[in-house]
Subunit: 189 residues, 2 copies
DNA sequence: CGTATTATTGACCACTTTCAAAGTGAGTGG
DNA sequence: CCACTCACTTTGAAAGTGGTCAATAATACG
């Protein structure tokens, strides 16, 4: 890695795969997210584009110089890293302690919350989302199998909480109930 | 939180608990680790001492000023945050994709690798470690139950990989095999 | 010692996975 | 325009890993 970059448009994912093929997605990367690690010349994890992507790239060495000469940038990068750290820590709880149903409900609401970032023309609204990932990618993100994701979606549908529209569309029919199913604190933020 | 701090001696843990009592430990905090979030006046997660602790505290406002006036500190904090981010991302893989046995093996080797940091007088050596956590705390860290942790320890003992000495002591009898059981890349670093 | 706490073990159960098959849908070429 | 194909998704049945509940054992502490 001789450069670092910032995502301008599109979605990518960060992932780690073991030798035997097990894959865990470590996070989704959206516009304004940062790729690469200043001060390190190799990549520890894989970055894969999920859609067409536009990047804003910097030569790593130049970026590192900039970090040292422009104090403002370092504090900004620090703030971004700490926010990312919090997001990843929430995901630790999801992977370690949530049930499959809670994981899927959490994912659907995550997509809703960030829907503007995911999609330009999919026309997401409060109660309709366009999934940025295929089932197998959702499974890798949630620490599940593709079958379990599919079954939980069907179960949520059977319970009247969602409606599945083709492969990528989902209507959220009962947001309050869906939030209650995430396993998160019920208190509004 | 009106202050931030750095751990001087002792071990603490960062954790998140849901309303129904499920707990996930988000990370262990060792000497030199940083507590608190500059630029935020509330705590998102709980920090709990695991042993007696010595902290080096700073008033948060003063620390924030220092961040802005001393560029070096921001880059140092950034580097620490990015290292922490990598560690947490490895844990995502552990929680999402590893088996109970792999989780326990990983934990034992983690304790070995950082044994100097965990314990002053426990006299840890290459093949003997003193666990910094009780079984229930290990369970919360690995996303398991206490019974499963206990069973996996017994299984590793039955397989001749470890020896359990009292509640906190473990002899690592076969390090190469134990490493192979972590589910991580077999290649040496 | 006796007591309280923590750890281990056992039996059973449930959730998720695995393996397998059928269904759906988008794109291609006749 | 319509079958055909391929990839993805859904569904089903069986198995397995880890969880739950309960009892026993070990350890620490007064």
């Amino acid at each position: 890695m001789s450069f670092v970059a910032s995502i301008v448009t599109g979605v990518a994912k960060l992932e780690k795969m073991s030798e035997d093929g097990r894959t865990q997605t470590l996070g989704l990367m959206l516009p304004s997210d940062f790729i690469g690690r200043p001060g390190r010349d190799f990549a520890v994890y894989d970055v894969t584009a999920v859609s067409d992507i536009t990047l804003c790239c910097f030569a790593r060495s130049q970026f590192e110089t900039m970090l040292e000469t422009t104090p403002h940038i370092a504090t900004r990068m620090l703030s971004m890293a700490l926010d990312e750290l919090d997001a990843v820590r929430d995901w630790l709880f999801l992977l370690g302690r949530k049930t499959a149903r809670e994981k899927v409900a959490t994912f659907l609401l995550l997509v809703q919350r960030r829907s503007e970032a995911f999609d330009a023309e999919g026309k997401p609204t409060l109660d309709h989302i366009t999934l940025p990932l295929a089932r197998s990618e959702i499974a890798d993100y949630l620490g599940l199998t593709i079958e379990t994701v599919s079954r939980q979606m069907s179960a949520l549908k059977a319970d009247g909480l969602i409606e599945v529209v083709g492969k990528r569309g989902v209507n959220l029919l009962n947001l309050p109930q869906l939030r209650a199913e995430t396993g998160d604190t019920h208190r509004q933020l």
